[in-house]
């Protein structure tokens, strides 16, 4: 335990929470039985995939999902390197958990600046940062999630100048959707994966390959129109 989840779990009606790295390692969990961190992680994978797709549509911003069920609420916060899953009973105030997640996001951002790769064994949090699970209210005056710097800015791993900008990916999705239909985002994601990358690490030099591969997925009559539209809207 590292204390990162104390504030989230201190929110009234929160049953528990777990923090994972984006490759699925559990950094910390405070889940009550019968919820087991490994199982929650495996169940959450589809949710994370969906949130990642939404994230690309949003040009890289980090979304949070609130899923209301007859039993309560599941809240998932996606960040650059981590994701957090919280379970709450009915009566949870989404605003309070949002504030607690904002504080957690800021904490994780600070940790990312200290260490580019955070492993479970390397996590360390100054104890004075989160002394009590009861101090959630103290964060009410914190800036909202929107005010937190984009985690991409602090990512030490990627050379953004060589990567296709997220805005360009977003625009490509829009253009391709005109010809490829509502499943276009998934098709593009598959095609990016097929050439060995993911949508936030596609090198600019492979962008044309992606466009040509996408064109090949369309009916023949749409291909030249699609390519012309891309060249007009996405000169790279």
């Amino acid at each position: 335990m590292t204390g990162l989840l104390l504030n989230v779990c201190g929110v009234e009606h929160v049953l528990g929470a777990a923090l994972y790295t984006n490759d699925g390692r559990c950094v910390e969990h405070r889940l009550p039985p019968p919820f087991e961190p490994g199982y929650v992680q495996s169940v959450s994978q589809d949710l994370i995939t969906t949130l990642n797709e939404y994230r690309f549509l949003e040009a890289g911003a980090t979304p949070t999902a609130y899923v209301k069920t007859t039993a309560g609420m599941i809240v998932i916060m996606l960040d650059e390197n981590y994701y957090t899953v919280a379970l709450a009973t009915r009566g949870i105030n989404p605003t309070l958990i949002r504030v607690a997640f904002s504080a957690l996001r800021r904490q994780l951002s600070q940790l990312s600046q200290l260490s580019s790769v955070l492993s479970p064994q390397e996590v360390w949090v100054p104890s004075q940062s989160f002394e009590s699970a009861q101090n959630v209210a103290a964060f009410s005056a914190s800036p909202p999630a929107e005010a937190i710097p984009d985690a991409d800015v602090i990512s030490p791993v990627r050379n953004q100048a060589e990567v296709v900008p997220k805005q360009a990916i977003k625009l490509l999705i829009r253009v391709f959707t005109e010809y490829g239909g509502p499943a276009s985002t998934l098709i593009i994601k598959d095609q990016v994966k097929a050439i060995g990358f993911n949508m936030d690490s596609l090198p600019k030099k492979h962008f044309r390959t992606l466009i040509e591969n996408l064109s090949a997925k369309l009916v023949e009559s749409d291909r030249p129109v699609f390519l012309k539209s891309v060249d007009k809207k996405l000169p790279m």
Binding site: T49, A65, G72, L87, N93
Partner: protein
């Protein structure tokens, strides 16, 4: 599901979708708000501006994915969800396995709007015309 039962479902959904859009617009008067009501991924009704097929697809895919996760987790039955981003949001009410009403706005969802939505979904199924 036969074609005739599809057509029986559609008229019942439309008034609810329209009243829900009006309710949402009270909380997001400045935003570019889009509503789609979809049944088995097919758009039944859309209001506002934006990519209606895109939203219907996002709502349907997301609802299916979230619903499966909720079921596996044994955490009740899903009523709805919100994805809150920094520049936009996407919300959906899930009526059953195949019927989803989705909303999106080109602005982030604020706390009041989200709280209202989340407190409302699943709670007023017997009072669908309250906003009319």
């Amino acid at each position: 599901m036969t074609a005739s039962s599809d057509s029986e479902q559609k008229p019942a959904l439309l008034p609810f979708a329209s009243s829900t859009l009006r309710a949402m617009q009270k909380y997001s008067p400045e935003g570019s708000l889009l509503l789609t009501a979809s049944f088995q991924g097919e758009v039944l009704e859309a209001c506002g501006s934006g990519d209606r097929d895109g939203l219907a697809a996002v709502a349907a895919i997301t609802s299916r994915s979230f619903s499966q996760a909720v079921d596996k987790l044994g955490f009740g039955r899903m009523n709805g969800w919100v994805i809150s981003g920094e520049t936009s949001c996407c919300l959906a009410e899930v009526h059953d396995q195949e019927t989803t009403v989705g909303y999106s706005a080109e602005q982030p969802v604020d706390s009041l709007e989200m709280q209202h939505f989340l407190s409302r979904v699943g709670e007023d199924s017997g009072d669908k015309d309250e906003d009319q």
